[in-house]
């Protein structure tokens, strides 16, 4: 079987981002992957809700790909969530349009993983910070997979960045071609670990 993947990419300063340029440039160019650049599409924040809903219905896995701004997503993705996930459609009475789909976060952040611990500089884990997203997804009857996180973006060497891009590509391949077992996948903290495990095999 083959899952169709929708990447909702939100980066207001994409042109100045080393990491994300590399990640996006190495995306597989398969017809089952749709790359949707929100800031390029809606520079005035005027989101075409009808079009976005159609895109969602045409895909099985939705990826929220963005830098981790102030422990959350950039404003336009929040606007997307606010506008597109309508009551009676995505949630609430009769809101089952998205039922059974998977949502996957792909995040880049300057801090290392050690700063995102209860005794670390940022005091909470990435997954704790992502709780609102996780709950949003579950309210919409979808499955929220563990996030794919690129840490310490300022310190990564070009080779390391390239390695992250490859892992992202591998993740996309996995999401497309494997049967997604939510119970098994949700045991991971980061989906990065699953990709590393699969590589080793």
């Amino acid at each position: 079987m083959s899952n169709r993947v929708l990447i909702l990419f939100a980066h207001p300063l994409f042109e100045k981002s080393r990491i994300n340029k590399e990640l996006i440039n190495h995306l597989p160019t398969e017809s089952t992957i749709t790359f949707h650049d929100l800031y390029e599409e809606y520079p005035d924040f005027n989101i075409d809700v009808k079009k976005e809903k159609e895109l969602l219905l045409a895909h099985d896995v939705i990826i929220w790909n963005h830098p981790f701004y102030w422990y959350s997503c950039p404003a336009l993705l929040k606007q997307w969530i606010d506008m597109v996930l309508e009551v009676g459609w995505a949630y609430g009475p009769g809101g089952e349009a998205l039922k059974g789909k998977y949502v996957q976060h792909v995040i880049t952040t300057g801090g290392s993983q050690s700063t995102y611990e209860s005794d670390g500089y940022n005091r909470y884990t990435i997954n704790q910070f992502l709780a609102p997203f996780s709950q949003t997804v579950s309210l919409c009857n979808m499955h929220y997979l563990p996030p794919f996180v690129v840490h310490s973006t300022h310190r990564l060497t070009p080779e390391e960045i390239r390695g992250q891009a490859d892992e992202y590509a591998a993740l996309l391949s996995y999401l497309q071609h494997e049967a997604l077992d939510y119970a098994r996948l949700s045991q991971y903290t980061y989906i990065n670990d699953l990709i590393k495990d699969t590589k080793k095999l």
Binding site: P12, E15, Y39, F68, Y71, T108, S152, H154
Partner: protein, 640 residues
């Protein structure tokens, strides 16, 4: 032009100019001021005006015709149709009730039945001129009392026709009346033909108004000559009045119908502001005439008798009206305005009395006495209403409710937004407002454009928008937002100038062609200025940047910041502009501004100020402060 015309004009105009402001100052209506000035210049005080007061009144009655035309203009056909029951109900009961009681009064005084009936019919009339003018001045035209009064007056206008037809039948002597102004086609015809004539006349006013006058006005409007439009407006009213007289109908009624027919046309406000001054002056003249024609000699011969009759007639009229108001469930305060307002004997009585005199139903002495009673009763109305306002109305304690009602009506009639200019610019504004349920009043001076838009269902009015009277009749006093969107910057500025002077509290949004216009508007105190090319050219630049490979969001942000920066810069430059006032031409001035702007862009470089999530910038600035090894506070959250 002979000197007697000039001296007469001098007398009338100075009397009005002196007395009316004094009356207003004393809190009385202008009607009373005119009446008083008439008495003062009349034969019994200063004697500037002799018996020709009567003749003046005939000319001045045309003011009443114009007034009804204007009232018609303000009443759209649909609204008129809604009033039909009120007109029949209020009007019929007033006429029958008053006539009956006055008839009984005069029979009781020992008059013969026929004489009493003729007089009662004449005295049952009320004065359209006085009542409507007074109500309008007090802002009560749209109140319940105003509507009811109007219904009664309109019914009387219609009733005059059959009354004039009945009077000859009351003549005891078989003498044919002396040929007078009332020799018309309708009186010499059988009943069925009269009906046909009446219906035919009304129908032709409708058809002519609808299919001939409006296209004609459009043609005149295209000439662009102000006075031609005024001439056409006057011609229109005069023609209608003339035709009505020809067939023997009331000219006032005819012009009222003409007004109603034209109420839906785009020329409504323009016609209104053209006729208004003429109407005002002629009505004033009419009131002066009434004042001047009061025969104090007759009064001094039998003061008690005349005083008693005035009081009784007014009392009867008042009580009948009060009872009708009760039946039709007017509130107490409204009912008093209605009943007191219509308690006088009207100008139709002059006509009817002189006619009955010609028919020898009553003699000259009584005709004179009754005319005096009529004139005196007209004088009492403004006083009675003043009395009511000061002493009776507060007693009911419903003053506030009148005010509320009136305010709601005003909002109905005049939308809160006025858009001047409905070309490409204004129509975009209007459409967006309309799509959100805001129906603006739209003014435009391009008659082709107006015609097209009206076909599409927009409420557009034709007129020279720089004229204060047009702005007034479009409701500038009640509006809270005025949008000037006319193509010509000069006209826009001229409107702003007028608005700032006469409606200083009105919020103005002004279209400006360019930076230079915008500066001038800023100096006039306009805070909301919209340069017509700014946003479009910035949008174009944003798209150009995108085409050249910039991210759309970043380009959009730059565009937004550019506008902000440019508008801030304008405020700074507005002052500097005066330091270099020696500029020779607009073009040189513009070039100088461009130079100045481009140089400031270089110095300020607003485009490079956006760093908040620039990863490299964040890292560099953090590394300068923090130890390179440890990831700092901001680097950990602000990422790529």
């Amino acid at each position: 032009m002979n000197s007697s015309f000039l001296s007469q004009a001098l007398v009338y105009l100075s009397a009005a100019v002196i007395c009316v402001p004094i009356a207003k100052r004393l809190g009385m209506s202008s009607v009373l001021g005119y009446l008083l000035s008439g008495i003062i210049i009349g034969p019994f005080v200063l004697g500037f005006v002799g018996q020709e007061g009567q003749d003046i009144m005939h000319v001045a009655e045309f003011g009443v015709v114009m007034m009804l035309f204007l009232i018609g203009l303000e009443l759209e056909p649909a609204a008129f149709w809604q009033m039909r029951k009120a007109i029949a109900g209020f009007g019929f009961s007033q006429l029958i009730g008053t006539t009956l009681l006055v008839l009984i009064l005069f029979v009781a005084l020992g008059w013969s039945f026929l004489m009493a009936l003729a007089v009662a019919l004449a005295l049952s009339m009320s004065s359209t001129a006085i009542v409507l003018q007074t109500l309008k001045e007090k802002g009560l035209s749209n109140s319940m009392a105003g509507q009811a009064s109007f219904s009664v007056l309109l019914f009387q206008d219609i009733a005059v026709i059959p009354i004039l037809a009945i009077l000859p039948l009351l003549a005891t002597t078989a003498v044919a009346p002396v040929e007078s102004g009332h020799h018309s086609f309708i009186e010499s015809s059988p009943g069925w033909l009269q009906t046909i004539v009446v219906i035919g006349a009304m129908g032709s006013i409708y058809l002519i108004g609808r299919y001939m006058v409006v296209p004609l006005l459009r043609m005149v409007a295209k000439t662009g000559l102000r006075e031609m439009f005024t001439a056409s407006s006057l011609l229109l009213v005069v023609t209608v009045a003339f035709l009505m007289e020809l067939v023997g109908l009331s000219p006032a009624l005819g012009s009222f119908v003409a007004g109603v027919v034209l109420a839906n046309s785009e020329f409504r406000h323009e016609l209104e502001s053209d006729i208004e001054p003429f109407k005002g002056l002629l009505l004033g003249l009419f009131f002066i005439g009434v004042g001047a024609s009061i025969n104090f000699q007759l009064m001094s011969e039998s003061p008690a008798q005349i005083a008693m009759l005035v009081v009784l007639v007014i009392l009867i009229k008042f009580l009948v009206l009060l009872a009708i108001g009760r039946v039709f469930k007017l509130k107490h305060d409204q009912n008093f305005i209605f009943a007191l307002g219509l308690s006088q004997v009207g100008e139709f009585a002059f006509v009817l009395l002189s006619f009955t005199n010609q028919l020898q139903i009553i003699d000259a002495e009584w005709s004179g006495k009754l005319t005096a009673i009529t004139a005196i009763s007209m004088m009492t109305t403004p006083l009675l209403l003043l009395f009511n306002e000061r002493f009776i109305s507060p007693y009911f304690g419903t003053k506030k409710s009148i005010k509320d009602e009136k305010e709601a009506d005003d909002i109905d009639k005049h939308e809160k937004v006025i858009i001047a200019g409905f070309g490409h610019f204004g129509s975009t504004v209007g459409r967006l407002l309309r799509a959100n349920g805001i129906e603006a009043t739209i003014l435009d001076n391009n008659s082709d454009q107006v015609e097209l838009l009206r076909k599409m269902g927009f409420k557009v009015y034709y007129g020279d928008v720089t004229r204060l009277d047009l702005l007034q009749s479009a409701g500038a006093a009640e509006a809270n937002l005025f949008i000037t969107a006319i193509d010509s910057p000069e006209i826009n500025k001229s409107i702003v100038h007028t608005l700032k002077k006469h409606y200083p509290h009105l919020k103005i949004m002004a279209r400006a062609r360019n930076r230079v216009d915008a500066y001038e508007l800023m100096e006039m105190g306009v805070n909301h200025i919209y340069r017509e090319t700014l946003h479009t050219s910035v949008n174009m630049a944003v798209d150009a940047l995108t085409e050249l490979g910039f991210r759309r969001y970043s380009a959009t942000r730059q565009g937004q910041k550019f506008i902000q920066y440019d508008e801030m810069g304008m405020k700074n430059l507005a002052d500097a502009r005066h330091d270099q006032k020696e500029y020779i031409s607009n073009i040189r001035q513009q070039i100088r501004f461009q130079e100045q702007l481009l140089q400031e862009d270089l110095i300020q470089n607003f485009a490079s100020e956006d760093h908040s999530w620039d990863g490299n910038f964040v890292r560099d600035s953090m590394l300068k402060v923090n130890k390179p090894e440890h990831s700092g506070k901001d680097t950990s959250t602000k990422s790529e």
